[in-house]
């Protein structure tokens, strides 16, 4: 029993200390960061955050990121819902191949797609818009959403569908009124994962725009001469907050969700 607690405590500390260090640094002045190693900010300052919230080049990064992440989440889940229903309820020509093909897109390295995406989205005139990133992220989020939703939907007995049809429900009405509430946790989890993978991705976002996502603005700053560590840390802390909020909402389903609804 004691070893159990020890392992868990050690692991949780290991999770938290690097994040604490980032938060710690974001409240320090650059002079304090570079001159001495202090375990907590001795000259507590909010200057780093002030810079971010007053400079449009910084805060617009967050706005753009939230824009494309939200668009992508809505798109992915909306498209994936009917498809997942089809996969979980019916067999049709080429269903297994199609399912595997979808998964292969989740497996394809974004590095492979970076250049062709650049060409493609330039050609259709979407380059440097949040929509381009939202659509590009669909390539790995839609397969994932289909996979998760299919797992949750297969857990709903098919008798429910049949009863509803006998009661005279049309397919769209049945789907929205009866079926979607039944798999609400699944929809939440799928949305969470779409949010997560779109939020954390950098390579495609950076390739498809001129420094629109906050992640890419940070990389640019990081490579500029004379590191502004405090500012970088503050920007990092601000990117962690939305994720932490979202986790809080899905905490009860998160374990099942990571198992893609298949436990």
């Amino acid at each position: 029993m004691r070893t159990k607690h020890f392992i868990l405590a050690f692991y949780l500390l290991f999770m938290l200390i690097p994040i604490y260090w980032l938060v710690n640094m974001s409240f320090k002045t650059n002079a304090e960061i570079t001159q001495q190693l202090t375990l907590w900010p001795e000259n507590f300052t909010l200057a780093n955050y002030t810079v971010i919230f007053t400079d449009p080049a910084w805060y617009m990064g967050y706005v753009h990121s939230i824009q494309y992440v939200a668009m992508n989440t809505v798109l992915s889940v909306a498209f994936a819902l009917p498809a997942a229903y089809a996969f979980s309820r019916y067999r049709f020509l080429g269903d297994k191949h199609l399912f595997f093909w979808l998964l292969t897109n989740r497996m394809a390295p974004p590095a492979v797609f970076a250049l062709p995406f650049f060409n493609l989205y330039s050609a259709v005139g979407l380059f440097d818009t949040p929509l381009a990133i939202a659509l590009a992220h669909c390539i790995f989020n839609i397969p994932l959403a289909v996979w998760i939703l299919e797992g949750f939907m297969s857990g709903v007995p098919r008798e429910i569908d049949e009863t509803a049809y006998i009661d005279g429900y049309s397919f769209p009405r049945f789907f929205v009124k009866i079926f979607m509430p039944l798999i609400a946790p699944g929809i939440g989890v799928a949305a969470f994962f779409c949010f997560m993978f779109s939020w954390v991705e950098l390579l495609l976002g950076r390739t498809l725009t001129n420094n629109m996502p906050i992640s890419s603005i940070m990389t640019r700053t990081a490579s500029a001469a004379g590191m502004d560590w405090g500012l970088l840390a503050a920007a990092g802390v601000l990117t962690i907050i939305p994720g932490a909020l979202v986790i809080w909402f899905v905490r009860n389903y998160i374990a099942k969700g990571f198992a893609l609804g298949r436990v």
């Binding site: 868990l8 938290l16 798109l75 009917p82 229903y85 067999r91 390295p109 250049l115 060409n119 436990v263």
Partner: protein
């Protein structure tokens, strides 16, 4: 329970098919197109056949040597992190409380690293592991060990592996936790009556139940570690030298840095095929395990 055959289900799948095809097939065609052509610039292309591929797959050429080095490093990286993360994840999931307020707290803290943007993960460790301003680097150096991830190959590797363990072990732990929760209490009671040891309980009750989630976990971890780009890019930039350059970093350098389209395209295709083959094997095993369980 057999599903009815209904080809009209295609209409439900069609929107997904179109949007993914737009994103996948068109770009892949471009890649294939580039991979068999050469150019003198000015958008004039001519047929090069399998020239790029033979160059890529021949370790004696510049390109081939570079490719196989990166590939080797990637396999080594994936192997090491799987060997660390899978046992550690199982261990942590076994140590997690089963009920009470501790569960939510553990879940939230453990999921936190997963929601950190990948470049921020890089930033966190870039700062944390530095000898002058980072806690970890400072402590390790104070213990008298020579640790500097920008200069020393071994340090760079350790940094990247520890970073990945920090980032992704929770995924395995959460998966296993979900699997463990689905085991009915009756199993444990039966084991207690039989006087089974802790190890026997793990071997005969818990591990078989975990097999399925572990397969998903290993599959996800393999593919994501095999295409890792952002974190090492931010921390080490692939260095010192080329020692932490994986295939993704190499490919981006080649495609977007040097605009060497033919070579980059050939490399993309081979890279993709390697991942697909490996994942196909995992996937087939997974489907078979599913079928076994249902029968």
């Amino acid at each position: 329970m057999d599903k009815p055959i209904n080809n009209r289900a295609w209409f439900l799948v069609l929107p997904v098919f179109i949007i993914v095809a737009f994103n996948a097939i068109l770009p892949l065609m471009t890649v294939v197109n580039y991979s068999v052509q050469d150019t003198f610039g000015n958008n004039e292309f001519f047929w090069n056949g399998i020239g790029w591929f033979t160059e890529l797959l021949d370790p004696s050429t510049d390109l081939g040597g570079r490719f196989f080095d990166s590939l080797g490093r990637n396999f080594m990286f994936s192997g090491i992190i799987l060997a660390i993360q899978v046992p550690l994840g199982i261990l942590v999931s076994l140590a997690m409380p089963k009920k009470g307020w501790g569960v939510a707290a553990c879940l939230v803290i453990m999921a936190l690293p997963l929601l950190v943007p990948w470049n921020v993960v890089g930033t966190i460790w870039q700062i944390f592991a530095r000898g002058d301003i980072g806690l970890l680097g400072y402590i390790v150096n104070a213990m008298g060990l020579n640790y500097n991830y920008t200069q020393d190959v071994l340090s760079a590797w350790i940094t990247i592996i520890v970073m990945d363990v920090w980032h992704w072990t929770s995924l395995i732990a959460l998966l296993c936790y979900a699997g463990l929760k689905s085991i009915p209490d009756a199993y444990y009671q039966a084991a207690r009556i039989d006087g089974a040891s802790r190890w026997a309980v793990f071997r005969t009750i818990e591990l078989p139940k975990l097999r399925r989630v572990l397969l998903i976990g290993v599959l996800l971890r393999f593919m994501d570690s095999f295409m890792i780009y952002t974190e090492p890019f931010v921390v080490t930039g692939g260095g010192p030298g080329n020692s932490t350059t994986g295939l993704s970093i190499d490919l981006v350098k080649l495609a977007l840095g040097q605009f060497d389209l033919g070579r980059a395209a050939a490399m993309s295709i081979v890279y993709n095929l390697i991942i697909l083959t490996t994942c196909w094997i995992f996937y087939t095993v997974m489907v078979n395990v599913d079928a076994e369980r249902k029968s």
